[in-house]
């Protein structure tokens, strides 16, 4: 498939350009961000001499382009870091080392990604069920009372910030009713059952926030499809309304739902900051917010690149899925 190859190639080039631009922007923005990084790293009561030593060690006194050069060098050729007693090599692609914790950024990301994925994957199942289900029902029961109620429920998810939904859910479900334990992240590989139980509330909270989008999209696409000529064909051939909705109208909405899902997934991997924070899930978003607060540039750049990568990837996947689901679309 020549079209697909060309599409993939263009997307890869586009993604690389986008990610590089992102890293440059982050470098520039953080260069001008207030906060004496060396002082933060060293501690507030470090003497000027000590701060200077730390700054030297972290190359903080170098001009911006030199520091960015270091970053690129690490990315393509790897970098060496001193632990004091020995020298550690960080092989390419090396995203550098945290100013604050001396951990390698790649290790931090690898530790956080599974958490974010666990959160978003489970939430995805719920938001799809909830969102698409509501969308279908509201398209079907258009204009009736039950539709209004369903719409109101999903909108409540949009209108109420996740930190409110999540906290109230937690207080009621875990604290007062004691139906679930207070969420505490457990590795899937350690105990899949505990993993799921502990993530249930975070999943629900995140899904409540996202599902309204899916409900709205499903409903709109279905109504769009229901207005199309081919629906008339099947009605004119005696196909029941239920079958028309289930088989034809819903099928018409799948392509868009799949596309929205890919994009939502991509942005939630790094964007579910509030959910992660509230439930104490050590995911990408929470780590990133912390890194921004302490001006930990290598971590910020590394994480933004990884998150950006997922967003770009999700968008490309959305396009491919959309084209696969709707064969009429030509990838361009």
């Amino acid at each position: 498939m020549n079209g697909l190859t060309g599409f993939v190639l263009r997307r890869v080039i586009g993604a690389v350009v986008t990610l590089f631009a992102l890293s440059v922007i982050i470098y520039v923005v953080f260069y001008v961000t207030p906060g004496n990084v060396a002082q933060i790293t060293c501690g507030p009561r470090c003497s000027p001499a000590q701060v200077h030593q730390v700054a030297q060690q972290l190359h903080l006194d170098d001009p911006l382009y030199v520091r960015y050069g270091h970053f690129l060098q690490g990315l393509f050729a790897g970098q060496d870091f001193s632990t004091g007693t020995s020298v550690e090599h960080c092989a390419a692609p090396c995203l550098g080392q945290s100013y604050q914790t001396d951990q390698q950024v790649t290790d931090i990301i690898l530790a956080k990604l599974p958490v974010s994925f666990s959160l978003v994957l489970g939430a995805m199942v719920i938001w799809l069920l909830l969102g698409v289900g509501t969308g279908v029902l509201s398209a079907w029961r258009r204009g009736r009372f039950s539709e209004r109620v369903l719409t109101a429920i999903t909108l409540a998810g949009v209108a109420t910030p996740v930190f409110v939904i999540g906290l109230v859910l937690m207080i009621v479900v875990c604290g007062e009713l004691q139906l679930l334990p207070f969420p505490q992240y457990v590795n899937f590989t350690d105990d899949p059952e505990q993993w799921a139980w502990n993530l249930l509330l975070p999943w629900l909270s995140l899904a409540l926030v996202e599902s309204a989008n899916f409900a709205r999209l499903t409903r709109a696409s279905m109504l769009e499809t229901l207005a199309e000529d081919h629906i008339r064909t099947f009605r004119a051939y005696g196909v029941s309304e239920r079958a028309v909705i289930a088989r034809h109208a819903l099928r018409g909405a799948t392509a868009s739902v799949i596309a929205l899902n890919a994009v939502t997934f991509g942005s939630a991997v790094g964007g579910a900051v509030l959910t992660e924070t509230l439930f104490g899930l050590p995911g990408v978003g929470q780590e990133l917010v912390h890194a921004v607060k302490v001006v930990d540039l290598p971590v910020v750049v590394g994480m933004v690149l990884v998150i950006g990568f997922f967003v770009v990837l999700a968008n490309a996947v959305a396009d491919v899925l959309y084209a696969v689901a709707d064969r009429r679309v030509v990838l361009a």
Binding site: S82, Q100, T277, K293
Partner: protein, 572 residues
């Protein structure tokens, strides 16, 4: 300075490189009396203690930790030359020997301190602890790779100011001598009667040179205490400690070490921690927190529940939140303006903003209200509970501001309820009554710290706080008011830029004293003397209220840390 956020509200309150490791939840002496030993069982060994924290134990390297009295979790792993006395209340503000046989033997002018190690001290791997290991531990805290500790070693040890640690400078610190494996001698630049307090900090923990792997050491620091690290995930987010079989209770009179295992979980939202402790389900029944206080909302809820209220520990840590002036900025160069503000302040609304009377006590002295600090009650500008706007207006008129005054109050945007917008707005509202219009300048936390700690950018009127490195007046007053500690090209804490020879001389004189009670009295007098200059307006001293699980026993809260000491607790 040690900082412990009163209510570390989530992401926002990252008191960054400072280690928030220390404190543990607690029940104050009064609660302890009611419950403590008279409870349903005497403390016994066994079980797992869960620690629910908001800040991860990111730094678990004794060189990098900044603790008061050795910290709470770190103190389970690192033994130091001296340590804090693990007792309730004022008794807990005393220094006691730990690895050493005594709290230190000074020479006549307190410039040379000698310690002898106890016999039979071992690391977790069974190798003996030597005085050279303690020297090495101190030396490596000078390495820029392992920055983060308190500044005292660098300031006090003779010829240490430019030392760069053992990785770059193989010769080592000449100020420390180890004539034999059990003796260690410290040579200081100047007399320091409070050296025993300093020796409680984790930098005085032994580090075996052969096990030192630089910045990686924190992943598995070698234990000299009752517990050793068996798990350290995600850079201190989940730490599991189990018994160290080579620790001998016979050499350690302070740590009780009842539980078999300590499971430290962090990265949790503070309201979630309190919800969990309040629900006290499953493993949470044997849980405490070492860094999360009850917030006002939670306190309101706890207040209506007797069973819950019985599980709240109350303690005091040496800490003051205050308004700081920069007298080089107009109109704060005029003492009358500063005094007017001191009179106008409404401490009750400030206290309310900080969480109410249960979480903050109004302060008129800079020194915390514990005896060990030398607390001497005084109130140079009596404002009552809700301010004296009339007196303030009068002073303003005298200063030539008959028609009121407009000033800018700089504060942080961090949600710590100390230098945060809530306190600033309470100040703003109070000064309104005295005809002072306050404009708020809220800065992002990093920006705020940079600005107030730089002589060049220091604003004229801002919120600040100060905490004790150990329970004595010295580390409380000297960094803030000693004129020789003004730092021109770095982080400066003498924000009032006070350089008064009489103050400086008095500080030197007290530092020579090795009789700490005598020293305390003179610190108190000095505090009063400085207070009259109105360079700061003390606002409140925070009170620590912490919940602990239903099965937690043997609660000890000292005036040193103000929080439940986890080396003392037992679980049912």
């Amino acid at each position: 300075m040690r900082q412990t956020s009163v209510t570390a509200r989530r992401v926002a309150a990252a008191s960054v490189s400072l280690v928030v490791a220390a404190g543990a939840a607690a029940c104050g002496p009064k609660d302890n009396d009611a419950k403590g030993s008279g409870g349903d069982s005497a403390p016994h060994k066994g079980g797992t203690l869960t620690v629910l924290n908001s800040q991860p134990q990111t730094d678990f390297d004794p060189a990098r930790l900044y603790t008061s009295g050795g910290g709470n979790v770190p103190s389970l792993v690192f033994r130091t030359l001296t340590t804090r006395n693990r007792e309730n209340g004022a008794a807990g503000a005393k220094v006691v020997p730990d690895l050493a046989t005594d709290t230190g033997r000074p020479n006549k002018d307190a410039t040379v301190w000698t310690y002898t190690l106890k016999k039979g001290l071992k690391y977790e791997d069974g190798t003996p602890i030597t005085s050279a290991d303690i020297k090495y531990g101190i030396e490596r805290s000078f390495a820029p790779e392992l920055s983060g500790g308190a500044p005292y070693l660098r300031d006090w040890l003779a010829g240490a100011a430019d030392y760069q640690g053992p990785y770059k400078d193989k010769k080592g610190l000449s100020a420390i001598e180890t004539p034999n494996a059990r003796t260690i001698v410290f040579h200081l630049d100047k007399p320091e009667g409070e050296f025993p307090f300093l020796a409680t900090q984790t930098q005085f923990a032994p580090v075996p040179k052969s096990k030192d792997n630089g910045t990686k050491y924190e992943e598995h620091p070698v234990s000299s205490g009752p517990y050793k690290v068996v798990k350290n995930e995600n850079d201190g987010e989940h730490v599991v400690l189990v018994r160290n079989p080579n620790w001998s209770a016979a050499t350690d009179g302070e740590r009780k070490a009842y539980p078999d295992e300590i499971d430290v979980r962090s990265g949790l939202d503070s309201s979630v921690i309190n919800q969990r402790l309040s629900a006290s389900q499953g493993a949470d029944a044997a849980a405490v927190t070492t860094d999360t206080n009850l917030g006002p909302a939670e306190l309101a809820k706890v207040g209506g529940d007797k069973a819950l209220a019985a599980r709240v520990g109350t303690g005091h840590f040496g800490y003051t939140d205050y308004i700081a002036f920069n007298p080089t900025v107009k109109p704060f160069d005029d003492p009358k303006v500063r005094q007017a503000i001191a009179y106008a302040i409404d401490r009750s609304s400030v206290v309310n903003a900080a969480g109410g009377s249960a979480l903050a006590e109004p302060a008129t002295t800079f020194l915390p209200s514990q005896k060990s600090f030398g607390y001497t009650p005084y109130d140079p500008f009596p404002a009552g509970t809700s301010g004296n706007p009339a007196k303030a207006r009068e002073l303003l008129a005298q200063a030539g501001h008959k028609n009121g005054l407009t000033v800018t109050l700089t504060h942080s945007n961090a949600k710590d309820f100390e230098t945060s917008p809530e306190i600033a707005t309470a100040v703003q509202d109070a000064l309104k009554k005295a005809g002072i219009t306050v404009k708020l300048q809220g800065l992002e936390d990093n920006d705020y710290r940079d600005k107030i700690h730089s002589v060049k950018t220091e604003p004229g009127f801002f919120l600040a706080h100060w905490g004790a490195d150990w329970p004595s007046g010295g580390p409380f007053l000297a960094p803030i008011f000693d004129g020789r500690q003004i730092v021109k090209d770095g982080a400066n804490f003498n924000t009032g830029l006070l350089n008064d020879t009489s103050v400086n001389d008095e500080i030197d004189a007290i530092n020579k004293l090795t009789d700490l009670d005598a020293a305390a009295r003179r610190w108190g007098a000095l505090d009063q003397k400085i207070g009259e200059k109105a360079l700061v307006v003390p606002l409140f001293h925070p009170v620590y209220k912490r919940l602990y699980g239903e099965d937690v026993r043997n609660i000890v809260i000292s005036d040193w840390t103000g929080v439940l000491d986890i080396s003392q607790v037992a679980v049912k």
